[in-house]
């Protein structure tokens, strides 16, 4: 029921934002919005994973704190890929990472962060939570490093720590 109410309200707010055109809404727009929000909320109730732990405000604060850091890494790496496109200097390879994350949410956040940061692309994940990442420029230091934590640092800086804070 909580999921139904939350999803309905969220859908209705998005509907209002989409139909806003500078002046106040008409009644027919609002009525149609309520009807469609209830339909969407009822469907969400059926498919949603009911895990309320991820709703705690601390995690949302961590997520907001994570965004600037993430966009900084993304911009930095974008220039790296732009350089590789122009010069054609690539050393591709698929490497295995063991970030040691437990639940699905944090692994999803980490995999999406890795994919959105240019230069790395998560290809697969196995049951133990190991990520297989396609890396466009494999650094030789990566193989000499024995510590698993430091290994992750070459590919995705401190993203695993952030994913752990947000997701677990």
């Amino acid at each position: 029921m909580l999921v139904f109410i939350g999803a309905t309200i969220l859908c209705f707010i998005i509907w209002l934002l989409f139909t806003f055109n500078g002046s106040i809404w008409q009644w027919d727009e609002i009525t149609a919005g309520i009807v469609f929000s209830i339909i969407a909320g009822a469907i969400t109730e059926k498919v949603a994973i009911k895990e309320y732990r991820s709703l705690s405000p601390k995690k949302w604060l961590y997520l907001i704190a994570y965004l600037p850091r993430f966009f900084y890494e993304m911009a930095k790496a974008n220039f790296d890929v732009a350089y590789r496109i122009i010069t054609g200097k690539i050393k591709p390879g698929i490497v295995k990472l063991s970030p040691g994350l437990k639940n699905n949410l944090s692994i999803t956040i980490l995999a999406n962060s890795i994919t959105l940061t240019p230069g790395t692309l998560s290809v697969d994940v196995d049951e133990a939570g190991n990520l297989y990442v396609h890396w466009i420029n494999v650094k030789p230091e990566f193989f000499e490093e024995k510590d698993i934590k430091c290994k992750c640092r070459y590919v995705c800086s401190t993203f695993p720590d952030w994913a752990r804070r947000i997701g677990e």
């Binding site: 998005i14 934002l17 989409f18 806003f20 055109n21 500078g22 002046s23 993304m74 911009a75 974008n78 890929v81 732009a82 496109i85 122009i86 054609g88 690539i90 050393k91 591709p92 390879g93 698929i94 490497v95 295995k96 995999a111 999406n112 994919t115 959105l116 940061t117 240019p118 230069g119 692309l121 998560s122 290809v123 697969d124 196995d126 049951e127 297989y132 396609h134 466009i136 494999v138 193989f143």
Partner: protein
């Protein structure tokens, strides 16, 4: 002043989208092409969407009230791109690997031999 800002944002966006198309032609195999074709387009599209948002907010501030919807729609399009782009890239890469495409010129392939169906 606003026009210059919009032109700069559009210029950066189009530059990265152009680089993405150049990368699609230059790179050797499907994985490296995915790098060019998904990442640079995301970064480029962020700037194009920012330019549209700046234009919409500016015209709204100047008194054309309907223009706020342009900025809102561009903002939601940006969120949709940011959410779907990594998911799509991941799906394509995984499907390519499972159908037997090996990474070209790879210096290492630690996923090889780990067929976990």
């Amino acid at each position: 002043m606003m026009w210059e800002l919009i032109y700069v944002l559009l210029g950066i966006g189009i530059f990265f989208n152009l680089l993405a198309s150049v990368g699609l032609l230059r790179f050797p195999d499907v994985y490296t092409r995915l790098h060019a074709g998904t990442k640079c387009t995301t970064f480029g599209s962020i700037f194009v969407a920012l330019a549209v948002m700046a234009y919409g907010l500016w015209k709204w501030y100047d008194g054309d009230e309907a223009m706020i919807s342009l900025a809102i729609h561009a903002f939601f399009a940006l969120i949709a791109i940011l959410l779907t782009n990594p998911t799509g890239a991941h799906a394509i890469a995984r499907a390519a690997y499972r159908s037997g495409v090996k990474p070209a010129k790879a210096v290492i392939d630690e996923l090889g031999g780990e067929k976990n169906d």
